[in-house]
């Protein structure tokens, strides 16, 4: 990190300016983001692009008012200007309302942290990466029913220095890799898509090239193609209230939408109300030990889990990464928090058992140093149960297995959701029956999680990456992972039609 010492000098200068201008709190993040994107589509290289961005952002609190300014010219003059601007913005905002922001005290850490990985993906030659994508594409297009293909890899490395006015000094390097393939089949007016290992760009993890090797995109291309073609002649998903077994990748999105966003404490407090919405999980549900799911439902947030997209040493408030329960034995147990909302959780302490002194759960992250940190979902996982997948199917009399994210939607309080998957099959008397297309299910969040009665074991549990989570105004994209194994839910509304 050749730039870090330069950044440190500029950063300390900015913090001095902020303090001299009257800020009670100031932090600065300086950094770079490297990105490499490869897309092979219909036999052609559609995207082969490298990006490198640099910038910085200064955040201050002045008399309980927030100010943030960012720039892309990492020079002394620009850092000085932006630092003063951040303070000016905060002073202006102080007049916009009677209230004050609060800021939880946390240790001022000094550390260096790097994502653990085996092979730096940026050192792998582009022709080797393209060779894998072109070969997978060739296999996908080997039958005439396939009308479109999309095969991709993506690699991202962020280097960042965080300095704060209380002395924190955190240098982090965060690496992630991703890749996937998909085939769209078209015949007689019917169009169906199947993806591997998951939809919308595939699997993403905080790992190096070893992730791409483990995915074996070429080895899974033929099955992906055949499943896309199979869907063209498959019947529609049945309609009714029946049992559903969700694959790990679909369950990951279910966790994300109906637990992750619902437990963001800034949403609960209405800070996101004008955009993505609020949450039904008001703070009374923490103190009243709200029954979120069945007894076997344990949902754990963990910013330390190896491979997780939200796994970092410290969040963008400078708080050390943590692991804690959001739902424990079916009971709602904690929120996703940052330093500016932590006190809302501690105020529920008398009945909930949360710490009386506000402490952040380390969920504050920004999309690059040029954006303001906000509460983001951490890695959030459903802990594995005891079932083998074969036993779970054998135990299901009348149900549908659903896999592969196709469409998702949920109301602004995170209650009514509806998801459509890429691929499904009926289960009749404990056996796999016919394949069905457009498998769709709909439910209300707590009722749905309370109907969970069987979770597959750790052999089928894995982290699934969500690389495209949008939140905030201006909207920022964040990445996180959700661990899940195939899981059964009883009597779910299935087969919603337009």
């Amino acid at each position: 990190m050749r730039d870090v010492q330069t950044w440190r000098e500029l950063g300390r200068r900015a913090l001095d300016i902020c303090r001299s201008e009257g800020a009670q709190w100031a932090d600065i993040r300086l950094g770079t983001v490297e990105l490499e994107e490869l897309v092979v589509r219909n036999g052609e290289v559609a995207t082969l692009e490298q990006e490198e961005h640099a910038g910085f952002g200064v955040r201050v609190l002045v008399d309980g008012a927030h100010g943030f300014a960012s720039g892309f010219d990492v020079t002394t003059a620009e850092v000085d200007r932006v630092a003063r601007l951040a303070v000016r913005i905060a002073r202006a905002g102080r007049t916009a309302g009677p209230g004050r922001l609060r800021w939880a005290d946390e240790p001022a850490w000094k550390d260096v942290w790097t994502t653990p990985y085996v092979t730096d993906p940026f050192t792998i030659p582009l022709d080797r990466k393209l060779g894998i994508l072109m070969e997978a594409d060739r296999i996908l297009r080997a039958k005439p029913e396939i009308s479109a293909t999309h095969n991709s890899m993506s690699f991202r490395r962020e280097r960042q220095l965080f300095l704060s006015s209380d002395g924190a000094d955190l240098a982090q390097t965060i690496l992630r890799s991703g890749g996937g393939i998909s085939a769209t089949a078209h015949k007689d007016g019917e169009t169906q898509t199947r993806s591997y290992p998951s939809a919308f760009g595939g699997q993403y993890m905080s790992l190096g090239w070893e992730l791409i090797q483990a995915l074996d995109l070429v080895g899974n291309a033929e099955r992906t193609r055949e499943e896309a073609i199979e869907l063209l002649s498959a019947p529609e998903c049945p309609v009714g209230d029946i049992d559903v077994i969700l694959s790990g990748d679909q369950l990951a999105l279910q966790i994300h939408e109906s637990v992750g966003h619902a437990s963001e404490l800034d949403r609960v407090q209405g800070w996101e109300a004008n955009f993505a919405g609020t949450s039904f999980v008001d703070t009374g549900k923490l103190s009243d030990r709200f029954r979120y799911g069945s007894d076997i439902v344990n949902l754990v947030a963990d910013a330390t889990v190896p491979g997780g997209l939200a796994t970092v040493g410290y969040d963008d408030d400078g708080v050390r990464s943590q692991r804690w329960h959001i739902v424990k034995d079916g009971v709602f147990s904690g929120y996703l928090t940052s330093r500016d909302v932590a006190h809302f959780e501690s105020e529920s302490a008398p009945k909930s058992g949360a710490a009386a002194v506000p402490h952040s759960r380390s969920c504050s992250r920004a999309e690059g140093p040029w954006n303001v940190p906000i509460v983001r979902i951490s890695n959030l996982s459903l802990m594995p149960g005891a079932w083998s997948f074969d036993d779970l199917v054998a135990d299901t009399e009348d149900g549908v297995y659903m896999a592969g994210v196709k469409c998702w939607s949920i109301d602004q309080q995170r209650l009514n959701f509806q998801f459509t998957c890429e691929y499904g099959w009926e289960i009749k008397n404990g056996r796999r029956a016919r394949t069905v297309k457009n498998p769709t299910y709909q439910g209300i969040t707590p009722q749905f999680w309370r109907s969970c009665d069987a979770i597959c074991d750790e052999r089928q549990w894995r982290l699934w990456g969500v690389p495209n989570c949008g939140k905030g105004q201006p909207m920022q994209v964040a990445e996180m992972s959700h661990g899940a194994s195939p899981t059964r839910f009883r009597k779910v509304a299935v087969g919603v039609r337009g």
Partner: protein, 444 residues
């Protein structure tokens, strides 16, 4: 703080540094002020500056691209080198590669920048939140001003740039179980009125208390402009582009010249509409021209970039996204032709129906009929004998947009610029639709 001369110097530095057969440089710089607030105080208050310089080169028919957020000469030169190295890594020359566009002569629209003014914004926010607090309401919202400079130059003589500007207020108000929302979007600050927006949001919140559940099913609906925008957004992404028609995934595949929706529906893509925002040239530097897409129910056209135009044997309409593009051309300035009269006129003669303020989290279930699902939000009301009656609890719709547009029975004259959760800017009026399918309800 955006500087067109500096952007031009960055592009010229890149062009000078390139030894490729063809080189294109795109400079995009954004300055945004945004105050995000609750009724009590701002929760985020910021000014951010963003920059991207993208270099696309061609070497012996091989194409490569690299981008940088840095603005030093060294960074620009490194970006050219990386783009060239990427091009040399391509396994084979790209097929059907058209020469880059040459010099273009057309009128560019350059709007006056909306300069950041945190003090004025704070004053405006204070007036809106005071209005909400005065009624004992909770609130959340944003007020923003944004300038985006875009410049495209290439080694064949193309040299275009313009400044797109936006001022926006979006304000959500809660009172007990009621919620109301109002917004204003314009290319300058004078086009949005905080007093009017606050009044509409507060009034709707007060009126939407004590909502009752109604049975989902097929209803006549009156959709206010933002609700219409969140549906049309998917036709923008997945319907009107020539590439989607080629691939058979568009509802217009094989239907050009045919009646596809109701007689009253005319849709165009027109970035020159007085209410529209956006750049006046596309990702290839060609002028965006107005394209009639549906004329009184008949499919009349598609939007093209240079590649699809070449394959279709026509001219580009100037709807290319950033190149190279796997998504093809996009109709990003949809205009649904307004009718006459007001929303009240749409209510007249309607015995029973639902008035929808806004849809939330609309997403696509199926592309060929544009089957969409989403939730109502922030003000959903029963219509009873031509009058807006009591509020109703929110519902989920699952509905083909194509089918819905076949059942349009009224379009108001109140066109406005509207956006949706997943973005986009569309000029749309309120619309009445028969038999709109609500598939389930929720608890609030």
């Amino acid at each position: 703080m955006l500087d067109r001369d500096r952007a031009r110097r960055l592009a010229e530095t890149a062009l000078r540094a390139s030894a490729a057969d063809e080189t294109e440089v795109v400079v995009e710089q954004t300055e945004q002020e945004l105050n995000r607030f609750t009724a009590d105080h701002p929760v985020q208050n910021l000014v951010r500056l963003l920059s991207r310089v993208s270099v696309r080169v061609r070497v012996d028919g091989h194409e490569g691209k690299a981008s940088t957020g840095s603005t030093t000469d060294d960074a620009i030169r490194r970006t050219v080198e990386r783009a060239t190295a990427v091009a040399r890594m391509m396994p084979r020359p790209a097929t059907d590669l058209l020469p880059m566009a040459g010099r273009q002569e057309y009128t560019l629209r350059n709007r006056e920048a909306v300069a950041p003014d945190p003090d004025a914004t704070a004053k405006s926010v204070a007036s809106m939140t005071a209005r909400a607090r005065g009624e004992g309401c909770r609130a959340a919202g944003i007020q923003s001003a944004e300038n985006e400079l875009r410049l495209v130059m290439n080694s064949r003589g193309l040299d275009v740039s313009d400044l797109d500007t936006r001022a926006e207020i979006s304000f959500t108000v809660f009172k007990d179980d009621g919620a109301g929302w109002a917004t204003g979007i314009s290319h300058d600050r004078s086009g949005v009125s905080e007093e009017s927006i606050a009044e509409r949001a507060v009034t709707k919140a007060l009126r939407s208390r004590n909502a009752v559940a109604v049975k989902p099913g097929h209803w006549t609906v009156i959709l206010e402009p933002p609700a219409v925008a969140s549906l049309l957004l998917f036709a923008s992404y997945k319907g009107f582009g020539a590439q989607q028609v080629e691939e058979g995934s568009s509802f217009l595949a094989g239907k050009i010249g045919q009646k596809v929706v109701g007689d009253g529906v005319s849709i165009a893509d027109d970035c020159h509409h007085p209410l529209a925002v956006g750049h006046t040239f596309d990702g290839e530097g060609l002028p965006r021209v107005a394209v009639p897409l549906i004329d009184r129910g008949v499919a009349t056209g598609l939007v093209h970039d240079r590649a699809t135009a070449h394959r279709f044997g026509c001219r580009s309409t100037g709807h290319a996204t950033a190149q190279p593009s796997s998504s093809g051309p996009i109709a990003s300035n949809l205009v649904l032709a307004a009718g006459t009269g007001s929303t009240a006129d749409l209510l007249r003669g309607l015995d029973r129906g639902i008035l929808v303020t806004q849809f939330h989290y609309t997403n696509m279930v199926e592309p060929t009929q544009l089957t969409l699902t989403g939730m109502t939000r922030n003000g959903t009301f029963l219509i009873d004998r031509g009058e807006v009656a009591n509020p109703v609890k929110n519902m989920r719709f699952t509905q083909s947009l194509v089918e819905a547009l076949r059942r349009v029975t009224g379009i108001a004259g109140d066109a406005s610029l509207a956006s949706a959760l997943f973005g986009g800017y569309t000029v749309v009026p309120s619309v009445r639709i028969e038999g709109f399918h609500f598939s389930s309800g929720t608890e609030f």
